[in-house]
């Protein structure tokens, strides 16, 4: 059987079971509202444009946060790969920081920047930076020595060697780093919005929860999941696959 067909059957049966269970009142709507209620909440949300404002606001923060974390992460990664001293000092700190979920920085961030946009973006940046740093570092450290030797015999050295050989050779690691950074930033953003101010998908989720609107809670969860899936599968995985093939790392 075709995988798509399997998936359609699978999802249809889950949704059917969920809907029928709700109609037979096997559970209360406040515990688990029915699929039609979730759909209604989503339609209302999009019709009065609140969800659209939320999406725009969330994506703006994500864009700024992810861009900053990729920039800072790459710069730090290059530094760690090139300087042994930096690797032995800053490198250790980054390994430790990477183990800390970035959302725990929010209380401090609110003290530093206030209960606003900047605090959320700060948490998002912290979410993606370190994983990018570590991938950039290993990308540069793992450049095949033969590429460097070949470039040297062609008169390339210093900055020219870095820009034209070492950096491009590390692109597969950069892409993996960016993909992980995006995933971490996305999670950090939702957590940050949930605990801070709106508009934003996370904020609306908490708002809905405070008013007992579980249908909207589930609706927003579905939006978050779908966006995560689309960006990861349709964008990053494709880019990664193309790069791996071009770089000769996958047949």
């Amino acid at each position: 059987m075709h995988p798509t067909l399997k998936r359609i059957i699978f999802f249809t049966s889950i949704i059917a079971f969920w809907e029928i269970g709700s109609r037979l009142e096997l559970w209360l709507p406040i515990i688990l509202p029915s699929p039609t209620m979730v759909l209604d909440a989503l339609v209302t949300g999009f019709e009065d444009k609140t969800l659209i404002y939320d999406l725009v606001a969330s994506f703006k923060r994500l864009g700024v946060g992810l861009a900053l974390s990729l920039l800072i992460g790459s710069a730090l990664g290059v530094l760690l790969a090139k300087s042994k001293t930096a690797d032995e000092t800053i490198g250790t700190v980054i390994l430790a920081l990477q183990a800390v979920p970035s959302i725990v920085w929010l209380p401090l961030a609110i003290m530093w920047f206030g209960m606003n946009e900047t605090s959320v973006i700060f948490v998002v940046v912290l979410g993606g930076t370190f994983v990018m740093t570590l991938n950039m570092r290993s990308g540069i450290k793992n450049v095949h020595p033969l590429y460097i030797k070949a470039a040297q015999t062609m008169g390339s050295r210093g900055w020219d060697l870095f820009v034209r050989v070492i950096f491009p050779a590390s692109i597969p690691h950069v892409v993996t780093g960016a993909r992980l950074a995006w995933a971490f930033c996305w999670r950090a953003l939702m957590a940050g919005e949930l605990l801070s101010t709106g508009p934003g998908l996370g904020y609306t989720l908490r708002f809905a929860s405070d008013f007992g609107n579980m249908a909207l809670v589930i609706g927003v969860m579905i939006i978050i999941g779908i966006i995560g899936y689309i960006v990861d599968q349709l964008i990053f995985q494709r880019v990664e696959k193309t790069v791996l093939k071009r770089w000769g790392l996958e047949s």
Binding site: L146, K149, A151, T153, G155
Partner: protein, 262 residues
């Protein structure tokens, strides 16, 4: 003399920090336009020697002068071809070949130059292919075109055909011979194949191991193409085998001794 290698020594430190002699007393002079093979069993330091000439490895002592210039670092006057093609996978064939030309000429000039050498290795139809779309033999021909495109006086080749199948290798021997006749480069060609060295070179430098030294300097005076001189080539092969057999036996018995120790 075009290339003068004088008293080259090379020592490495092994894991217990004991010095290990890789090359001792290497002296070699090569004339401009000569095709010289460096032949020896694995571990004789022939690749290290080539790497020192390229400027990629520093000798412990001694000096190398190429075209009246002392070698201290890699340079475009010495093109190098490695056993693996070492093409940059993110660049297509044309971009790979123009890589060394970027700084010194316009894009148009660089591309014309690249086309000329890609034609020489018969790859004009593959300008926009990426390395992973080419066979091993084709990749190696691009690498040769890339080295030639900088128009170096010297071509250093480190077992360039070692990873290829027999038929591809034979074809590339023919192409290399043609290229050498047309461009009159000085070629230092490292190989462990006796027949390959006889087929291609004017002179064969036979090296021995532990430590790496030059055992013999053999002139090959057969006219080219050499396919028709099978008998003479076989005689030279047997002659060289006489020297190398002792060396190979030495390597084998040492390996056996090491194996029984562990």
């Amino acid at each position: 003399m075009f290339i003068e290698i004088t008293d080259i020594q090379k020592q490495y430190l092994d894991k217990d920090n004991n010095p290990l002699n890789v090359l001792t007393d290497i002296n070699l002079k090569v004339e401009k336009g000569e095709f010289v093979s460096i032949l020896g069993p694995s571990g004789c330091g022939k690749s290290t020697l080539l790497s020192i000439v390229a400027g990629l490895t520093k000798a412990t002592s001694g000096e190398i002068v190429v075209n009246n210039q002392k070698i201290t670092k890699p340079g475009k006057d010495r093109g190098m071809v490695f056993q693996q093609a070492a093409l940059f996978p993110w660049l297509n064939v044309m971009e790979n070949v123009t890589f060394p030309l970027k700084k010194e000429m316009s894009k148009k000039q660089a591309e014309d130059q690249a086309k000329k050498y890609l034609q020489m290795v018969q790859l004009s139809n593959y300008l926009h292919h990426y390395p992973h779309e080419l066979s091993g033999g084709m990749q190696q021909r691009v690498a040769i075109a890339r080295a030639l495109a900088m128009n170096p006086d010297t071509l250093l080749m480190d077992e360039p055909f070692g990873a290829l199948d027999e038929q591809t290798r034979t074809r590339l021997h023919g192409q290399l011979e043609t290229i050498w006749t047309e461009t009159k480069k000085t070629i230092l060609f490292v190989t462990h194949s006796i027949s390959e060295s006889i087929k291609l070179s004017d002179r064969i430098i036979v090296m021995g191991t532990k430590p790496g030294t030059i055992l013999q300097d053999i002139q090959v005076d057969l006219p080219r193409p050499r396919e028709q001189y099978k008998k003479e080539m076989l005689e030279i092969e047997e002659h060289i085998m006489g020297y190398l057999k002792k060396e190979i036996d030495k390597v084998v018995s040492e390996e056996l001794a090491n194996a029984s120790n562990t």
